[in-house]
Symmetry: C2
Subunit: 654 residues, 2 copies
Amino acid sequence: MTDIQSMANAIRFLALDSILNAGEGHQGVPLGMAEIAATLYARHLKANPDDPQWHDRDRVVLSNGHGSLLLYSLLNLSGYKPVTVEALKTFRRLGSVCAGHPEIEQHAGIEITTGMLGQGIACAVGMAVAESRLAGEFGDDLVDHRTWAFVGDGCLQEGVGQEAISLAGHLRLGKLTFLWDDNQITDDGSTDLALSENVPARFRAAGWQVQSVDGHDIEAISKALDAAKADPRPSLLACHTTIARGIPRLQGQRGGHSAPLVPQDRVEACKMLGWNHGAFDIPDSIRADWHTAMDRGRVAQADWQQRLSTAPTAVEFQRWQAGDLPQFHATTMAALKAASVAHDAPRPTILSSGDVCDGLNTDLPELQVLCADLEAPTDHKRSRRAFSATVQNGSYVHCGVREHLMGAMACGIAAHGGLRPVNVTYLAFADYERPAMRMAALMGLPALFAFSHDSIGVGSNGPTHQPVEILASFRSMPNFHVFRPADALETVEAWELAMARRDGPCLFALSRQPAAPLPVRSGENLTAKGAYLVSPPDEQRDITLIATGTEVGVALDARTKLKASGIRAAVVSMPSWELFAAQPDAYRADVLGTVPRIGIEAALRFGWDRWLRPDDPFVGMTGFGASDKSETLYAHFGITADNVAQVARDRLSV
Amino acid sequence: MTDIQSMANAIRFLALDSILNAGEGHQGVPLGMAEIAATLYARHLKANPDDPQWHDRDRVVLSNGHGSLLLYSLLNLSGYKPVTVEALKTFRRLGSVCAGHPEIEQHAGIEITTGMLGQGIACAVGMAVAESRLAGEFGDDLVDHRTWAFVGDGCLQEGVGQEAISLAGHLRLGKLTFLWDDNQITDDGSTDLALSENVPARFRAAGWQVQSVDGHDIEAISKALDAAKADPRPSLLACHTTIARGIPRLQGQRGGHSAPLVPQDRVEACKMLGWNHGAFDIPDSIRADWHTAMDRGRVAQADWQQRLSTAPTAVEFQRWQAGDLPQFHATTMAALKAASVAHDAPRPTILSSGDVCDGLNTDLPELQVLCADLEAPTDHKRSRRAFSATVQNGSYVHCGVREHLMGAMACGIAAHGGLRPVNVTYLAFADYERPAMRMAALMGLPALFAFSHDSIGVGSNGPTHQPVEILASFRSMPNFHVFRPADALETVEAWELAMARRDGPCLFALSRQPAAPLPVRSGENLTAKGAYLVSPPDEQRDITLIATGTEVGVALDARTKLKASGIRAAVVSMPSWELFAAQPDAYRADVLGTVPRIGIEAALRFGWDRWLRPDDPFVGMTGFGASDKSETLYAHFGITADNVAQVARDRLSV
């Protein structure tokens, strides 16, 4: 019979040995949660280490990512090939799959990068939404798995944790379970220092099933996991645990979290737990129990494969899972481009983006649009149905005023696979979800963050709602592709690029103010080049005006004014710095030219010096915005064609 | 007898008339919360419109800031001079005190800028902490006031809202009251779309007093406010209201929030509410009731003034309130500088910062240090006592893992006045509190954000915890002074500048890795210049190495290596870009020199082009970090003296 207690102790000693070997690490979680994890894996988890990326596997998230050795030990013991004992011996070393915090490597069973507290459980909500939507589309013959998240006190103190609890309860994500390491200890010491709330009551208030168990009592844990699976609500298991259990000197203490271990700690732990094996040595009988435990997943996958082979939706299901675009996608995009240039009237790019999003509803049903209580002003719902507790196959989630959760859900959905998340709110609120967006960039997840209200063009809502530095702040983030399209066509082009990108997130900064269509241009996706000459490329020029978004229109107007005074201005639209930087030198030189330049953007100059020379002026903002109508503000801050023309004349000393 | 119902209707019509006049605005809040606000002002609030900045006034925060006309109407009616009817007629126009969202103007009674949901209530927690600490220091003869926050559903959905609820309950901030506009409507429509939790239960779980009242029943509200004042816990009044009450077409509807009003709406509202007065016309009898209501505050201030005049601590109290530095401050700072250079051994700048913070405990007792569960690794507590539910005069707050709240508390404390907030955590977590930090910059509040773990120097915790873009993201934010000190002395100098700054926040990026002391330099605060030559200023040079933080040490080592090959390198330490940019051109030119330059920083190049020419190389990061020891990572990413020397030789083609 399976000896779960020994399976748990194997976790403890692999963790302990790895930390001793590395000389650093956090023992609190793996030693405290060993029984919880072992019980989950021994009796409940559905996963197959032989095929770590099997689509219908349960997802496991270690939200308290500093306890990474809990996960690495689990993966080693259950047979995920990349996580060998040798890998454990390189814990926290460059290139190791066993990094300080878990870093997404799904072929090794690491579902998601965690470590920034709260992100993991918020991602888990996204994963559970993805599962539910996919089950709604393809039926539970193909999609029927659970999301399990290990979570510590820190994750539950973070605001994003509450956002996750609240929305998961509202959406009745019944296949989501949080395993809370209720050990009463954080980095500062007792949780009493900063917490006196009744955490289970908070979950209950949000409509969760809540169970309290002794986190070292295997049968109690297993029974609670059964009950969690049977309940239609998301479930919290409040597991009362002793941090660092097994090390007499540290267990239940503040130092249990991550105080440096000494060899004597292992000696004492062996004594206490009756462990008589050498470092990294796991007896065959225990390894056999782990192997047997995973057979449940192997059988489940074989059955599933059988069902898939006869499922009428198998081809489409596999396309979604692979993240491939449908064959007719290029045709759809061409039609959307044609439609975009058919509009003559100036149109806010947020609406043009909504046009595309709506136009893709049939072509790309795998889109999952998330919006934080701004349905009307962002207008990306249209013909979509709302995903809810009762409607699984809705492709639009009313996230409530919870931007941070929404960003993390986008990560969770993208990491889960099968769907393409589109996150929608105002650009000023991007700061609220920035930590999650950074995770998307770090993990290289294909998520689209579409933001409206890109600048002072917001108007009278004033400086709180007017981004001036936010473009720069995301342009500075590695692996983000930031787009600020100038008109409807550039918006469609940006969508095309975002849908094609598989190795990182895209950000759209879209306007509330109307954007006039740029002059007709060739059929090529010029946005893909990052920047291009809007005025004819072979024209002689005295000055180059480089602009983004609605300021390309300002530059074009300035060009007309300058022409009247005999100055030849070239206008460059630069929707994406990252893509332009990736162009060949010669192309960049052609676009930027050798004559003086002016940068024009309703934002700060910060970062623009990459494209300007020290003597080149910049027309934009120098500080925060103000409260008035958009046109008044553009005039007030001098972001007008007249002013650009004047600055150009000054620069050329004409 | 005071007619509170008419006082409430006066709020409604001033709001309505202002919105009709402006052609836009949010009527939902002022019309829905009119009775709540009128009752608060008529019977409970302690404030004096004749002296809006009286130190012992109650603080009023409109957390649902889009409902700004509730506040402007209140300020007009209660007699705050800048908020005239003429000002109401300029609602949402450039330069108006009645901006789209409230923007801090304390002389006009606007305590704080709000509009980013959740920020207001989180600031309110900071204000209540400030009140309690100051009462603990000076007694309730001088400090005894309440914080009242109007709050909507959105603020309570935001994660930072839960952080606020949780910590306020833990700290038993009994003088804090939230007035919740429980109207069941958000921008998307019914709150049911995204919310089904029991909000009052959530407050109860956090230890709050919770009362539910009909938000249009004046006597019920007043009784509940009495009970809130009598209770030692923070209080929630769940006020069941009808959004936009008074406009038959919109009340209780989604459109009540901010749908455009038409003149007929006013006609219907007059009919419904029995109002027979012209636009902006408030009958004298109602104005008289408002005036009388504010007499309570006038009398209270007179009494308080009396007590102050005989208080032995009056001089010190007034110094704290004025934000003046003590006379002996310069002496203290000189001693701290001397102590910092007495250390010979390399020392992490986070510890040097802790040395200063501790050294100021006596000199500047008005410091209020906030830390998010990282007491040990940031080491800024030391001799400070923890502020808690039972210890009011503690100058250190264990904020728990709630960075966002902590940042907003810093704003609230600074806006409250009397204390100097110091916010402490890791730089990677700055993203979590960025929205609050942006508010500090926007409001021009003197708050210090001291962050440790500034770079890959963090070591094996890996890329989640290693900032590479975060310096750039804050350098791009208007009105922030960002410092990355190179050694202990620069750290003391940065503290000196931060304590002297009164018109905006400062950020310190501090190292976990040891920083070797720079060569001995003059007594002048060179950090104040933003950048300066570490090597003798009059030396000839072939190349200029510009670095920040611990990379100044790398540059100095490279200088030594280059000297050996006959290349003369000048080393510039550039702790603050903003301060350097503010220096005279001639000084900047002297420092930067005319020879080629190399930028060196363990971060991305983004933004550095301001100081480099296109041909100038940069030694730093090109993407996210990795998991290994600090020294290994510096070597791996080529941020070493050897590599800098090589890059310099390449640049000079030597």
